[in-house]
Symmetry: C2
Subunit: 238 residues, 2 copies
DNA sequence: GCGCCGCTTCGGGGCCGGGCGAAGGACAGC
DNA sequence: GCTGTCCTTCGCCCGGCCCCGAAGCGGCGC
């Protein structure tokens, strides 16, 4: 019966308020230092260090030292997907208030390194509906038409293919539908941010660990994504 | 910062080995008594009672008394979806052995009350690909063609619509793609089981809490689902 | 109605885990 | 080199949780 034990120890890593605050802060996709995470969690440096050691040990967080700083990120998009699912259930099962982060959070946000919210679901539906992606073992693969279209959009397909998974689903808790994760999801989000089709909404850093995940679609972004993928009709204005 | 706290307390409910064993056992969709769950978890009756009280309090488990027995089930398909996601990550992050439940578990299984595994993903792809489902807020809705086709298959659409959600995605951890949950997913699974298109693979009850989730597609089931939805070419033999 | 059975509540014991302060390495800049 | 900063390790205290045995409550069958 190895599975329930592994299941429980994984859940235990998320079951501490301080670690939960760190993990939700890391869902923004940014790499944060141990000190920043300590502040987010509201604990001292020693406690934060111990927590982060456990998260790294458990495979949820990856660390890469840089000088005297140690930057921490989520270990993979699969971790982000699970955190999102848990967060959605926490919001549904304890509906204290319907997600205190407002409409902007539901309309467009980052799930670690890829798009989520109504925008993420619409991009997923556009890619599949136009026949740019086809079902494959372990997720999706790009059709010839899809390769051409994605390249025309400026997506770096070679970079996307270097990820452990090229394209796979990720549950969107606010829409109850899948959005796109994997290397392709990451490259699409990176492209949209680099071209200023999407802007990160600046949130007050301290306090709310998930403020920096919110995104706003610019007019040019709406035009380009609408032409290419039929994304539109969404109430994506902040 | 209400969210990380709710997140943590939800994870804490899953973070105990005994509770994890109970929850994974309930993923079979069966309603189990407190005594059975105590045996599954390997603890005494008093401890099990306390654990179940916490799970009910936390909204993960629903209880309906029947005589001197108290039957427990997962509270919703959303709970099942989250448990599956967590289980998949636990298998991926601690790849002690690649899921000790064999190929049958990946090919067809129950996720609480709906189909999962390669079969579940194929059914989802068939429904969407044939234009029987169309995107809708919070999930999917049935197209006119879909209503006709589903009714011809013998699916009880009226019952499906009574669920809190008609149709929505649920992450399939083994395929990294979405399968279908919600009222429609439940009715499809119920129909397949009632017509003996699918059989529950009997597992030794004690010991492995997830053995009874495995399913086997019968020849007639393969024929009917293949004709209606194009499901085929899967290695679904046990 | 009496006794069995399933489940819950109560009390006590034990363990694990989280928090801090103080001290110890590692790196950058002057 | 020295100093400041970032981070970790160590030692300690504390609270919470998990377990069991014993007792209490309620339904069911003889």
């Amino acid at each position: 019966m190895t599975t329930p034990a592994a299941f429980a120890s994984l859940a235990a890593l998320m079951a501490d308020p301080a670690r939960a605050a760190m993990l939700t802060a890391l869902l923004s996709g940014e790499a944060l230092t141990a000190g920043e995470l300590a502040r987010v969690a509201g604990i001292g440096a020693p406690a934060a260090s111990a927590h982060l050691a456990r998260l790294v040990e458990g495979g949820l967080v990856a660390v890469h030292p840089q000088g005297r700083h140690r930057y921490h990120r989520l270990a993979s998009a699969a971790v982000a997907a699970t955190l999102e699912a848990l967060g959605g259930l926490a919001g549904a099962v304890a509906p204290a208030r319907r997600w205190p982060h407002g409409e902007a959070f539901r309309s467009a946000r980052l799930c670690y390194d890829h798009l989520a919210g109504r925008l993420g679901v619409a991009v997923h539906a556009g890619l599949v509906g136009r026949g740019w992606l086809s079902p494959a073992a372990g997720g999706w693969s790009a059709t010839p038409r899809g390769e051409a279209g994605l390249a025309a959009l400026g997506i770096d397909l070679a970079a996307a293919r270097q990820a452990r998974r090229f394209a796979c689903d990720c549950m969107d808790w606010s829409e109850r539908r899948a959005h796109l994760a994997g290397g392709l999801g990451r490259e699409i989000a990176a492209c949209c941010l680099a071209r200023h089709w999407l802007l990160r909404l600046p949130g007050e850093r301290e306090g709310d660990p998930m403020a920096r995940r919110r995104l706003r679609l610019t007019p040019e972004g709406a035009r380009c994504l609408g032409e290419a993928l039929g994304v539109g009709g969404l109430d994506l204005a902040a």
